[in-house]
Subunit: 295 residues, 2 copies
Amino acid sequence: MKTYVDCIPCFYRQIIEASRLAGLEDSTIKEIIDETGKILEESKLDSTPPEVVGNIYEILRKRLGNIDFYKQIKEKSNNLALSVYDLIKEKVSSSEDSLLTAIEMAIAGNIIDFGVKNSINVEKEVEKILKKENQFLKNNNNNFFAYEEFNSLLEKSKKIVYLADNSGEILFDRVLIEEIKRLFPKINIIFAVKETPVINDALKEDALFCKLDKYSTVVSSGSKIPGTMLDLCSKDFLELYKDSDIVISKGQGNFESFTDKNKPVFYLFMAKCQQVAKEVGCEIGSINLFFNGSK
Amino acid sequence: MKTYVDCIPCFYRQIIEASRLAGLEDSTIKEIIDETGKILEESKLDSTPPEVVGNIYEILRKRLGNIDFYKQIKEKSNNLALSVYDLIKEKVSSSEDSLLTAIEMAIAGNIIDFGVKNSINVEKEVEKILKKENQFLKNNNNNFFAYEEFNSLLEKSKKIVYLADNSGEILFDRVLIEEIKRLFPKINIIFAVKETPVINDALKEDALFCKLDKYSTVVSSGSKIPGTMLDLCSKDFLELYKDSDIVISKGQGNFESFTDKNKPVFYLFMAKCQQVAKEVGCEIGSINLFFNGSK
């Protein structure tokens, strides 16, 4: 997806938020904003939004080193997710269609995104989605929720690459991965996290904390942007990636940045802003299992 | 009030919105965003936010001339306000404390601000505020709603300068002005609008459309920013201004920019963002009749 001019205020909002978390004073944040202006001037609108955000984030990395400004928020998110794990797990196991419910929960986990909103009451949101358990089923027949294709392609797959999104959310991904492994025990899952701290995206330490390694092979994609682009991934990751049968691209950042015309890609995410909703053709807040969307 | 770094995403949002209204394409808007970055680089955080927005707005003026991009929105606002005029007027005339209710309504009109929000259902908002008619009374004893001072200073005044805010809203101001004139017939009111189109701020044509000239002397303050700073006002206005007894500063833009330590100033506005709320010491959405706030 290209960058819309409307994404730009949001880029500034994100860099200000990260700068605040880094404990910087307003006068220093103003300098970072000025540098952001220069990076944006050099950026083209045909870059993906996470690529531009990654470049802006480099300003902080150059000034402060590879510090994980969101560490506390990510730890809180992981713990918050863990606190509702039993609830989600029970919901999945008691469901008539456990895979569908697990997908629902994985997308529900996508609301834990401190990069887009400043604060949300996760538990309330989870409860809300759990109560509306049929909302995805209702959308089951539209283009944005390709459950049948997903199910049938899983049956034929041996290896899945799962592109992780945020901390906290990955615990919800684990529930989906557990369910895939239970139903299709022969499938190997590569769970790809980011290489360096960027916003609240999950790193290896988050995936290990949430015990993703019990059900998948946790690797770094090599990505330093809040999304995934094959051009910017590491050779090691591309080696693991090349013979995968399906890609599950999780979250808005990966939707905005990831494309591979040679593989089936399922984008699992909630459309959190007008620009992404426009790109998909769905409404804001819409919950998608988008199959190989043209982007 | 100084500019907070958190105001900057909002500046970008405003210039993008105005550019869209001007019918510009995204590639051109990107150029304007790049120019905005340069203006912000030259701007200091001790400038007022409306001053910075005014400078950013100059980019559009230089490119497109003095076009009124918000003309249609302003006309819609004026008409929308007119459609609820009878309701407001009736509410004021049937009130036990008509001046207080007129103040309430003038501040209610402040929600009609297309510069801060993209769309609001004005009628619903007005209804909501009309229903909660006692909410201001409840706040009557706090520092942010100085009704007693306002009432007692009106009794001693001969000349008031009323700094207008947005189109549509000015019709609500008219109701307050009508009430002041009814209670204190000897008071002269100078109703000061902006010199040139800037966002949805009221111009002379709006004030005349809303018949403010029946109850006050409608003048331009000379201001070309979405607020009022005496340094940037015209000589003609300052001549009228100098012997006024009270200033009524309407709306957030005037709160952010206007100060005069030599006169009693009443700021009538709703705090629409975190930065302004922080500046006042009130909560977001709080409705204020703020007396000579230290800024």
